[in-house]
């Protein structure tokens, strides 16, 4: 991977989490965080952080916010649908494992996509192999890969493509 700033981004992420978890800006806490974050980033140069591969421009940040908003809405929809399904006496499930396609190549973007699919309406990522993603669908609307891709993947992919373009 060509992102030379990767260890730096990992370091920044770790330090940020350290500061939030400590909830203090005291110099000794900050110095300890600096040392530990630097040690981890140095020892695990291949470590990934969500920032790795991300475009840190205004457009990238905007897309990240859009992705978060879209994701939260989908999460609520997913839960309401699942609740309706579980409470329905007939339990109208129609499960299927369908194959969908993704254009994303960045590993972090693919992780986020698989996670987002798992958390949203009736779908669960089962296997990722190359550009194919196998998704378990509780109430399958279609088994056609292209239609399934449009229904499951496209919404998230549009944002992720901008962030990790």
């Amino acid at each position: 991977m060509s992102d030379a700033q990767r260890p730096l981004k990992l370091f920044a992420t770790l330090l940020l989490f350290w500061m939030i978890l400590n909830g203090s800006l005291a110099p000794d806490v900050f110095l300890a965080g600096l040392a530990i974050s630097a040690a981890i980033a140095f020892l695990l140069p291949g470590g990934l952080s969500v920032l790795c591969g991300a475009r840190l421009s205004l457009r990238g940040v905007g897309a990240a916010l859009g992705f978060t908003g879209f994701f939260l809405r989908e999460l609520v929809v997913a839960n309401l649908r699942m609740a309706g399904l579980v409470l329905n006496p007939a339990l109208p499930v129609r499960p299927a494992i369908v194959r969908v396609e993704t254009r994303l190549t960045d590993p972090v973007a693919r992780l986020l996509l698989a996670n987002a699919i798992t958390l949203t309406p009736g779908t669960l990522s089962v296997e990722l192999s190359g550009r194919w993603l196998y998704v378990h669908w509780v109430v399958a609307e279609t088994t056609d890969p292209q239609e399934a891709t449009r229904a499951i993947v496209a919404g998230f992919e549009n944002y992720l493509e901008v962030i990790y373009g």
Binding site: M82, V86, R99, L111, T120, L124, S125, E127, H136
Partner: protein
Amino acid sequence: MTALGLAILTLGAVFLALGGLGLWRMPDTYTRIQAGTKATTLGTLLSMAGAGVLEPGWALKLALIVLFLMFTNPLSSQVLARAAHRARVPQAPQTVADALAEAEGEGAQ
């Protein structure tokens, strides 16, 4: 403020309970994982949000917990589902298609 916090907490508990009901009612492993993952994620998220409203001083740390959960919860579900599929855990009779088994069959030939 207290009432709002308690209301959000209760809503979170309702989703967690529905997740439990889903585990019990769903016909096979995969659909149970589905019911479990989504409900526990939103349920926990709402519980944390409710706690954050009640104790604003904790809000930042609670937000961090939610962030970790949003990454780890779906990941563990995905790995469980994949392991189940590889171990050929049977699917519910209602299942209409399995593209992954088909792809594996093609690879084996």
